[in-house]
């Protein structure tokens, strides 16, 4: 799949809560086909410590309007700079990067997102919906206040929540949710993104229950295009690049 370097104009940058920002970006170029869980590499200008680009999932795509949307969580200097960018300014992106979630065979699919890991799930659902598949979402947050874009997610599927403090949905993390612990409900496939401990636990669960499970992993990236071999994940076939052979891996191939 061909990759591009394009400038995008910031249409808006909205703060969603303390740590999260929503960036809508427009390009005059034609958008290439984008698949679920693919990501962009954003150039961060203007700070000596943000020398390298930053990988960010594609949260939403609008082909008619030539826009993509990113959901940014402030983690350090680079994401802080992104969070303060203003509409009318430009961002340089390399995209679309990485492989993607594979197509399911039925709509008994569960999209699990934890914290920032909800980012790729919106577009994943929108993408699957084109094929008549309506997913179920299971989204985990710290508390009610940290829930991101609930109405938007509700458009594309049934949404279940967990919060760590129980202030919304079920209390605990996604692994504790009754959906996953009810033998009556069976999913053909789980797609997940989130903190590594969550993904590991989910992987154990999926393997023991024999549910197909694909996870989108993070890793430190220098290039994003398979050139530097910095972003490796250990698998049963040896070191694989998260940026090109991932970010999506079937849990059965992972050696955590």
């Amino acid at each position: 799949m061909k990759k591009y370097i394009h400038y995008f104009e910031v249409i808006y940058n909205t703060q969603l809560n303390t740590d999260y920002y929503l960036l809508k970006l427009f390009t005059e170029e034609d958008l290439p086909a984008i698949f679920p869980a693919q990501f962009v590499e954003v150039r961060i200008d203007g700070a000596p410590n943000t020398f390298l680009r930053r990988p960010i999932s594609i949260h939403d795509v609008n082909y008619e309007k030539n826009t993509i949307t990113l959901l940014i969580r402030i983690a350090g200097e680079g994401t802080a700079i992104l969070s303060s960018i203003k509409s009318g300014e430009y961002l340089n992106l390399i995209y679309p990067l990485g492989n993607s979630f594979t197509m399911p065979d039925s709509d008994r699919i569960l999209l699990i997102g934890g914290g920032c890991g909800v980012a790729p799930m919106l577009y994943a659902a929108k993408y699957f919906m084109q094929f008549g598949i309506t997913p179920t979402f299971l989204l985990g947050y710290r508390n009610k206040e940290s829930i991101l874009r609930p109405e938007k997610f509700a458009k594309y599927g049934n949404v279940f929540y967990t919060t760590e403090d129980g202030s919304f949905g079920e209390k605990g993390n996604v692994l504790n949710h009754s959906l996953l612990n009810n033998e009556e409900i069976s999913f053909e496939k789980i797609y997940a993104c989130g903190p590594e401990p969550m993904l590991k636990a989910l992987s154990d669960l999926a393997i023991s229950r024999k549910i197909e499970c694909e996870v989108s992993l993070e890793n430190l990236m220098a290039c994003g295009i398979g050139a530097c071999l910095c972003c490796v994940q250990n698998t049963d076939q040896g070191h694989k690049c998260v940026c090109t052979e991932g970010p999506v891996f079937n849990v059965k191939n992972l050696i955590w």
Binding site: Y4, F51, I225, V232
Partner: protein, 303 residues
């Protein structure tokens, strides 16, 4: 018209822009962004006799105007290179160099021998300076005796252009350069990465799985430039300069310091089309300053 052709001790370059090993994959990773045929050449990944999985992750840490890496020569080994990768890339109309790495002299020799057979590989870059493998690599490049030993052995079996890549982690890079010249190197390239380290103050852990790694990027440019200047004055073989090059002015500076050609490394990660932008920048510089032949810049520092 500006002449950008350079005769690099027999290696014909259409321009002085090459890419640095380990930062440019096998070239094809960049074909979406640039026309590889426009490069003076590209140098593929560090290739070893046997398959190597490289180091565990994390392998990368960002630093001020630079980065540390601890990839550790992950590659599928020279046989896979010759059989599967070489056929895919051999028809590019540019110089393709293989960066040959190893941990014992015999491995360098065997690898070089196999690459010698590949018609469309006009040169190897002998990596005696990788800081990321325990067993050797850099150790060869940090003493004259060991550098001589490996170059001498490889020279016997390798008949084409032999470029030797020097380590900057030394007291006296000039004497190492002279040693490898004496053993028949056709050129030297410098610098490889500087041995560095990064720590996460919060977790108290090293940021790299191997604790130390190789520093590259603009941070190292002033030191790399100084070394190129010192070496170019001291040896009679041509010098390929690298270390932190980000734009056309940087290339001009390396050439003024004495480099006959350069390699672009870490910059490829940030701008995958940087090589071509730099090439155009060099043409612009030459037109602006009335340079008719790029060779006129080599070593033309006015000091």
């Amino acid at each position: 018209m500006v002449n950008l052709n350079i005769d690099f001790n027999g290696l014909k370059l259409k321009n002085p822009i090459l890419t640095a090993s380990g930062t440019f994959g096998y070239g094809t990773e960049f074909s979406d962004f640039i026309d590889l045929n426009r490069l003076g050449g590209f140098i593929v990944k560090g290739t070893t006799l046997h398959h190597r999985e490289g180091n565990p992750y994390p392998r990368m840490a960002e630093t001020a105007s630079g980065m540390l890496n601890a990839v550790g020569l992950q590659n599928k080994g020279v046989e896979v290179f010759c059989k599967s990768i070489y056929p895919e890339i051999k028809d590019y109309n540019t110089n393709i160099l293989v960066n040959v790495s190893g941990s014992v002299v015999e491995d360098y020799v065997s690898t070089a021998e196999m690459i010698n057979e590949l018609e469309n590989i006009p040169a190897i870059e002998l990596n005696i300076s990788c800081p990321n493998v325990k067993e050797g690599g850099m150790a060869f490049g940090t003493s004259c005796a060991s550098a001589e030993e490996v170059v001498k052995a490889v020279r016997k079996v390798y008949k084409k252009h032999l470029m030797v890549k020097l380590s900057p982690n030394v007291t006296d890079i000039v004497s190492i350069a002279k040693s490898v010249e004496l053993q028949g190197a056709d050129s030297v390239s410098l610098v490889n990465t500087f041995l560095g380290m990064a720590i996460d103050a919060k977790t108290r852990k090293p940021k790299l799985s191997t604790v130390t790694g190789g520093l590259s990027g603009p941070a190292i440019k002033p030191i790399a430039l100084r070394m190129v200047w010192q070496v170019a004055k001291a040896v009679n073989i041509p010098v390929c300069g690298l270390g932190g090059i980000m734009n056309a002015d940087d290339v001009i500076e390396f050439m003024l310091a004495g480099a006959s050609c350069v390699q672009i490394g870490t910059a490829n990660f940030i701008e995958p089309d940087i090589t071509i932008k730099i090439l155009e920048g060099i043409e612009h510089y030459c037109r602006k300053f009335g340079v008719k032949d790029i060779n006129d810049l080599i070593g033309a520092l006015d000091s």
